[in-house]
């Protein structure tokens, strides 16, 4: 890294690129001369009902549109002549036809589509910015159409992704409004780098940061994924791995989530009004606190004669007391959700537009947990000339989120209650000797009830702009250029106010204010040129060349002050311990690629591609990396030789793909540096420095190579489709943040290209139209994914010694270790236990290394001497079942059943309550007569030094969603002046089947962390019901 040459500011560099882009925009005159219009209607062949959001596109161009609520479409500015068009919609087979466009006239082309479970001719957007049919690609790409989902059952973008596509794992981290989800596609590639997928909106990379805040509240943190408004999305494509993502370049190794926002449709303005109301409720039964009161051997009172102490003969139990702070002073309330949105779309011959605005607010189950989000979108597409179009996409989001203290935070409502006292220190309490002067805590361990602690006001305000311009220029019928430039600029304001004399913990009574302002910017410029060449009547070649430039800037200024003047909520009111800081980071990428595709008889497709990247984060000793990709697709079922006797097989495609992608190291990872600090020397503060990072000038990207293969099968005239994919993804040169020997005194870690990680598995998706009667339809989608993750090698140091395992997670219960899944639980096992003396208590007395009790029972529990693998925190099996039942095309009932299996979860809530020396307030500890022997063993084993008993099977099946959509007949809708009307009633998180003994197997107190996973005093997911009304005019 160095300062820019000749002092030219970085902005000028960006201008250079924009100038280059400007060269791409030709002068044009008589833009609309010699053009005509194509219009028509697309309907369901069987029901004869109009199809909404059906696509129609002109073959060989980037031109196309979608149908509106009445099933009609209109494409303007088409050069006169004969064109080929294709109509299609998810769930229907495509229908091609030709049309003759006459200058100055409107040509009508209606389509009648038949239901089809296969998606072979569905169009996807490629890395080059062009569209392609799925049959042309050799890899599996999942498509999610939010317009076909019951969005009423979702609250954010993560919910839209969850359980929709095989291989895409979305795990919420709790029931806090505004908390993010951990998103993984085909496992985790890297030991130390982010494993989050790349996020692209309308062709540009945008910030996808997990745990995106600078102020912690103990656990839950927002994710930038959820800045995306699902109502603005037309289509989501998920490119699952390097086999398909090679051309997306560095940062795409974890897969790509590609979002296309809604576009306008030519025709008269169509208004859509969306209104939603709903409620949510915490349905959990929280455990009370217990303590066994008793006497020590000397006769003195003890408030904690737990089963261990009793078994050791140190005390006898007089009584077991219980108290539930949450019942005494319940901070939980019913939440609610409201949403109001309005959009307009339409356009004429020259341009189409989509405008939308939406406001939604959500109140969580704590008073202080709420979010408000306002989003605006303007998408305009203009046909500037016969051969030139441009689309402008502008989105703006403003949000305000308030988060509660919780999880690993003594001030949290659940934390303070579940670790609290087994007696209520109210004025009427019976334990004055224990409560002392405390008459207000009601048993909360923080000493205050939550509603007082919740004076802490932790917020995040976001002002986010995502804008892009995409232009297609087709100077010759066989040549098309696509340019996209855009920016994602996110102004994030993390702030917290602790008012004085309200929260009595540490220095909080004096009050303080934190104000951290960040601007996170991502700039993207893409250029692509594609030439198509019909080499022979059966052979078509397609050649693409292109490049990409991205700049990811992070700028943050932090400020803090203490001793806050009551009544103020600004730094202006602070008077002591002022602290300021800055974070300035910048990672730039420059890439170029080429791609060649061969299409033979529209049945066999071979593609070869290569991309080369440079990146500012690479070490100075590394220049660039090359990512190759190959894929093949053969629609063998359309071959003449394919046996016609297999009448049940209506479609068969074989496909295979191989590709490489990478991940770049983080900013400054290659640099040796020191951090500036203040030091008091002789009574005066002077500038000093301390060790920053040791750097590694040889850093290069981690490299993930993936091979996948599979088939697409259509059965019974495409009423059933099966997609099967097997993949094997191997990451080499993984950037491991190697823990440094502390004796170096040179920082904690250093990135090195060392690791080898393997993810392999299978995915299957079955869609079936089971019943297609005129008035009743029943279809379902079933997805399954089976994922294995393994660290093949953590690598070796310069002298050839293996890099030692890396511990992580609460109580170091997880490990990064050769031949185990990344982040696998790794603890000493409980090898045996039994109630040998039949007293109903598992005792550790007289066990090896444990308390000796002469005359006491023989050892009743043994634990292993060395740690063993105890399971992965990530699901290895994910199955989803989404049935849909439709009556009279007016009533549609859908459900989402979601099973995740094979994962474990560290129930640190129970472990901490039962075994931590400071608490031991769970029933297991207090009363052996009401605790099973295995549960006693888990507790006693924890006291002996292993958490093995609390690493629990966290497999679950959830009834994630149920929704009923009622579509009003047109005459009913018209009574309120609407063209159409629908009402959706939806429920979310309706039931969970699990063996997990905690409250919810789908939580993580460590939010969206790479691997660290535990349930620790975390707010479980909440149940919600929503009603959503859609009206179009």
């Amino acid at each position: 890294m160095s300062t820019p040459r000749l002092g030219v500011p970085w902005a000028c560099r960006r201008l250079e690129l924009l100038a280059i882009l400007a060269l791409c925009v030709p002068s044009f005159a008589s833009a609309q001369a010699g053009t005509g219009i194509l219009a028509g209607r697309i309907i369901d062949r069987q029901s004869q009902q109009p199809l909404v959001s059906a696509q129609i596109r002109i073959v060989g161009t980037q031109r196309g549109t979608q149908t509106d609520q009445t099933g009609t479409y209109r494409i303007t500015g088409i050069p006169a002549g004969t064109i080929s068009v294709i109509a299609q919609r998810i769930g229907y087979g495509q229908q091609p036809r030709t049309a003759v466009i006459t200058s100055g006239a409107t040509t009508t082309a209606d389509f009648s589509l038949a239901i089809s479970a296969t998606q072979l001719d569905q169009v996807v957007v490629t890395a080059t910015g062009e569209t392609q049919r799925k049959r042309e690609t050799g890899n599996s790409t999942a498509t999610i159409d939010p317009t076909a989902l019951p969005l009423a059952a979702t609250t954010n973008f993560s919910d839209v992704l969850a359980a929709r596509a095989p291989g895409v794992s979305v795990t919420t981290s709790g029931g806090t409004v505004g908390g993010g989800s951990r998103i993984r596609i085909r496992g985790s590639n890297s030991v130390s780098l982010s494993n989050d997928p790349l996020l692209i909106v309308d062709g540009i990379r945008i910030d996808n940061s997990a745990n995106s805040t600078s102020i912690g509240v103990g656990g839950q943190q927002p994710s930038r994924f959820n800045d995306i408004n699902p109502d603005e999305i037309e289509n989501i494509e998920i490119i699952k791995g390097p086999a398909a993502a090679a051309l997306y370049g560095t940062a795409a190794a974890n897969g790509v989530i590609q979002i296309t926002t809604k576009k306008g449709r030519a025709g008269k303005t169509r208004w859509e009004l969306t209104s939603e109301v709903g409620g949510s409720r915490d349905i959990n039964t929280y455990p009370a606190n217990f303590l066994a009161f008793g006497k020590r051997t000397n006769g003195s009172f003890t408030s904690n004669c737990n089963i261990d102490l009793k078994a050791r003969g140190t005390c006898t139990v007089d009584s077991v007391v219980t108290n539930s702070p949450l019942a005494n002073s319940n901070p939980l309330r019913d939440g609610n959700r409201r949403l109001l949105g309005l959009s307009a779309s339409g356009g004429g011959d020259a341009a189409t537009y989509f405008l939308s605005g939406e406001y939604n607010q959500e109140q969580g189950v704590y008073d202080i947990n709420h979010s408000r989000q306002f989003s605006l979108r303007t998408n305009v597409r203009a046909q500037l000339a016969k051969s030139l179009d441009a689309a402008v996409s502008v989105g703006y989001t403003s949000s305000d989120l308030r988060l509660p203290q919780n999880d690993n935070n003594i001030l949290g409502a659940l934390s303070s209650a579940l670790l609290g006292l087994a007696y209520d220190c109210s004025p009427k309490n019976s334990y004055p000797s224990l409560c002392g002067t405390d008459t207000t805590s009601r048993g909360y361990i923080s000493g205050q009830v939550p509603n007082e602690v919740y004076a802490i006001n932790t917020r995040q305000q976001v002002q986010r702009f995502i804008g892009s311009v995409t232009s297609n220029y087709q100077p010759l019928p066989w040549l098309i250029f696509t340019a996209t430039a855009g920016a994602d600029v996110n102004g994030r304001f993390d702030n917290e106010t602790v008012p004085p004399q309200q929260v009595f913990f540490g220095s909080l009574p004096e009050g303080n204010r934190t104000a951290n302002r960040a601007v996170i910017s991502n700039y993207t410029v893409n250029l692509n040129g594609t030439a198509n060449y019909q080499a022979t009547p059966t052979l078509k070649l397609s050649s693409s060349l292109g490049g990409q430039y991205t700049d990811n800037l992070f700028r943050r200024t932090d400020a803090f002050g203490a001793k806050l003047l009551a009544g103020t909520e600004s730094l202006n009111g602070t008077n002591a311990r002022f602290a300021v800081g800055e974070v300035n980071q910048d990672v730039k990428l420059l890439g170029a690629y080429g791609r060649e595709q061969l299409a033979w008889r529209d049945k066999v497709f071979l593609t070869a591609a290569v991309r080369s990247d440079k990146n500012s984060a690479f070490g100075q000793n590394f220049k660039n990396i090359v990512y190759p990709a190959f894929s093949g697709s053969w629609v063998i079922g359309e071959e003449d030789f394919f046996p016609k006797s297999l009448s049940t097989v209506s479609l068969l495609r074989l496909r295979a793909a191989y590709g490489v992608s990478g991940q770049n190291p983080g900013f400054r990872a290659s640099e040796l540096f020191f951090n500036p600090v203040a030091v008091n020397v002789g009574g005066t503060d002077v500038p000093g420095f301390t060790v920053g990072g040791p750097g590694n000038s040889s850093l290069k990207p981690a490299r993930s190579a993936e091979t996948e293969g599979g088939f697409d099968l259509g059965l019974f005239k495409d009423r059933i489709s099966v997609e099967y994919t097997a993949y094997d993804k191997r990451t080499t040169d993984d950037l491991v943040n190697v823990v440094l020997a502390p004796s170096l005194g040179a920082g904690n870690t250093r990135f090195q290209n060392l690791g080898q990680v393997r993810n392999y598995g299978q995915e299957v998706s079955v869609r079936a139209n089971v019943v297609e009667a005129r008035n009743v339809k029943f279809d379902f989608t079933a997805n399954g994914s089976f994922t294995k993750n393994r660290l093949d090698d953590l690598g070796r140091d310069g002298q050839g010694n293996p890099i030692p395992q890396i511990f992580l997670g609460f109580s170091s219960t997880q490990v990064i270790r050769n031949f185990l899944p990344l982040g696998g639980y790794f603890v000493r096992p409980i090898t045996s236990f039994s109630d040998a003396n039949g007293d109903g208590v598992i005792s550790r007395v007289n066990c090896k290394g444990q308390p000796v009790l002469v005359g006491g029972p023989a050892c009743e529990i043994t634990i292993g001497d060395t740690a063993e693998y105890a399971g992965t925190p990530f699901p290895t099996t994910e199955l989803t079942f989404t049935p849909a039942l439709t009556f009279f095309d007016k009533i549609r009932v859908t459900a989402l059943l979601d099973h995740r299996g094979g994962q474990k979860l560290y129930n640190n809530t129970r472990a901490f309550r039962c075994s931590n020396g400071g608490f031991q307030n769970c029933l297991d500890a207090a009363d052996a007569s009401r605790t099973s022997l295995p549960d006693q063993a888990h507790l006693i084993a924890a006291l002996m030094g292993t958490q093995a008993g609390y690493i629990e099977d966290a497999s679950y099946t959830k009834l994630r969603e149920v929704a009923v959509t009622l579509t009003a007949p047109r005459n009913v809708a018209s009574r309120v002046g609407a063209g159409s009307a629908s009402l959706t009633l939806a429920g979310r998180n309706l039931h969970t089947w699990t063996k997990y003994t905690g409250l919810d197997p789908e939580v993580n107190a460590l939010a969206q962390g790479n691997f660290a996973t535990a349930d620790f005093l975390t707010q479980p997911n909440i149940r919600s019901f929503t009603a959503r009304l859609n009206l179009t005019f």
Binding site: P4, S387, I445, N680, G688, F689, V738, S743
Partner: protein
């Protein structure tokens, strides 16, 4: 006309195409350039900026700063001072974190994250002061601050020897970014290195007229020699140190990193409480401190007077009453105590008593209650009759005078190593007040992460 128009469009189209191709070419050329990838990094300091003589004040500050964090702790990281006191009998745990409970319980696991943090910090201080000494020697060998940096460097070896198991490595990051891994040093070797460094600091301080560094080094050398059981030489080393001498690590409210660690963790975060006779053998710090101004112990007034766990009574010392309270590193009173120990070894009761009382007189005292003036202890009138009682008296005086200055753990180990006592008669033992029993630790293990050093396989021994 039509023909002409078509030609015109074709011409226009060709022109546009050329522009596109030029654009694509320009982009390709740009891709070959590295200018577009140039980034600046303004938040940090690179080694080149610290290579001149003008950087030496910052080098001194870096040395003091890193040593201060490692020794006295900070707002967000414990130091040797707090954690060695927790392992010994100066503190008991009054919170819920398992990593610190197991230290208090003398049963520290080598993957304990808290002890990893304090080991990193002391090794960082060692490395920073090592590098600081090289900077001074290279850029300005006669600089008066050079001896101070060397003395602080030597103190890191003393702390590593007193608080850790035998077998501590000292590794180095080289100028080119490569690593030179150190081999494990025994406790005796660490002390030998420390004495040599103190000698070097004394020589340089004498020649440069750095009086403060000179006395700092003398006390440090005396402390290391006592650790080596060389009492007479230790007394000689500290003889010239005035009783009024005081070298402290200054803390400050200015930044969290500069806050006093004992205040931050004991009083503010309520993690550690001053006990009375922890685990049978502990000294009655709480009781003595209620009347002795050297300790000035009182029940914390906030949060019901309990620790973070809401049940352990929280007692704090006025010695560390706010974020800016300094942490003493070397004081004249310690010099007198070293002389007293030498007198004890020489059976010189008169000098023994005189030095103990000189130490009492020299020790700073603090107010027993906010409204009261600091109260010092009365002089000791008579020396106990038995040697064992004299040893007890000496170590109690050391414990009180040097309270929470990372001496106590080393002293308990010396009682075992040099005075023949059993570990279970000097360290807290028996039933642990939060459940379970005390473990066998008499020092900190070297963290598991040190196994990233190919020369390190584990502690050479865990003996006192």
């Amino acid at each position: 006309m039509n023909h002409h128009s078509q030609n015109g469009r074709a011409h226009s189209r060709g022109k546009s195409l050329r522009r596109v191709l030029i654009g694509a070419g320009a982009f390709a050329l740009a891709a070959c350039s590295t200018d577009l990838l140039t980034v600046s990094d303004v938040d940090i300091v690179k080694p080149a900026a610290l290579s001149g003589k003008s950087s030496l004040p910052s080098v001194l500050a870096a040395s003091i700063g890193d040593f201060g964090v490692a020794y006295g702790g900070a707002n967000n990281s414990e130091g040797q001072n707090e954690m060695s006191g927790l392992l010994a009998d100066e503190f008991i745990n009054s919170e819920s974190f398992p990593t610190r409970i197991e230290v208090d319980q003398r049963n520290t696991n080598e993957i304990n994250a808290t002890t990893l943090g304090i080991f990193r910090a002391i090794e960082t201080a060692r490395a920073t002061t090592d590098a600081g000494e090289i900077s001074f020697a290279t850029l300005d060998p006669t600089n008066a601050s050079r001896a101070e940096v060397i003395a602080l460097n030597a103190f890191t070896y003393v702390l590593l020897a007193e608080n850790y198991c035998s077998g501590v490595p000292a590794s180095t990051i080289n100028a080119d970014g490569s690593f030179t891994y150190g081999s494990p040093m025994t406790t005796a070797q660490l002390l030998t290195v420390a004495v040599a460094k103190f000698d070097s600091a004394i020589t340089i301080a004498t020649s440069t007229g750095a009086g403060t560094a000179l006395n700092l080094s003398r006390i440090g050398k005396g402390r290391a020699l006592v650790d080596q059981k060389n009492y007479a030489a230790a007394a000689t080393a500290v003889a010239a140190v005035p009783s009024s001498f005081r070298y402290v690590i200054n803390h400050d409210e200015n930044s969290a990193r500069q806050n006093n660690g004992v205040f931050s963790f004991a009083q503010n975060s309520r993690r550690f409480s001053i006990p009375d006779r922890e685990g049978i053998n502990g000294l009655p710090f709480r009781s003595v401190g209620l009347t002795d101004g050297r300790l000035a112990v009182r029940r914390n007034s906030s949060s019901g007077g309990n620790g973070f766990d809401n049940f352990t009574p929280l007692f704090v010392s006025a010695k560390f009453q706010n974020r800016s309270a300094p942490t003493p590193l070397a004081e004249g009173s310690e010099a007198r105590l070293i002389e007293a120990e030498a007198a004890l070894a020489a059976n010189d009761d008169a000098t023994f008593l005189a030095m103990l009382n000189a130490a009492r007189a020299a020790s700073p005292t603090y107010a027993l209650a906010p409204a009261l003036a600091p109260t010092g202890p009365a002089p000791i009138v008579a020396v106990p009759a038995t040697t064992a009682a004299k040893v007890d008296l000496l170590f109690q005086e050391r414990a009180i005078n040097l309270f929470l200055t990372s001496h106590r753990l080393g002293d308990l180990r010396r009682l075992i190593r040099q005075y023949g006592r059993d570990a279970e008669s000097v360290f807290p033992t028996g039933a642990y007040f939060k459940g379970g029993v005390y473990g066998p630790d008499v020092n900190f293990p070297i963290p598991f992460e040190e196994k990233n050093n190919p020369n390190f396989k584990g502690c050479l021994d865990r003996k006192a």
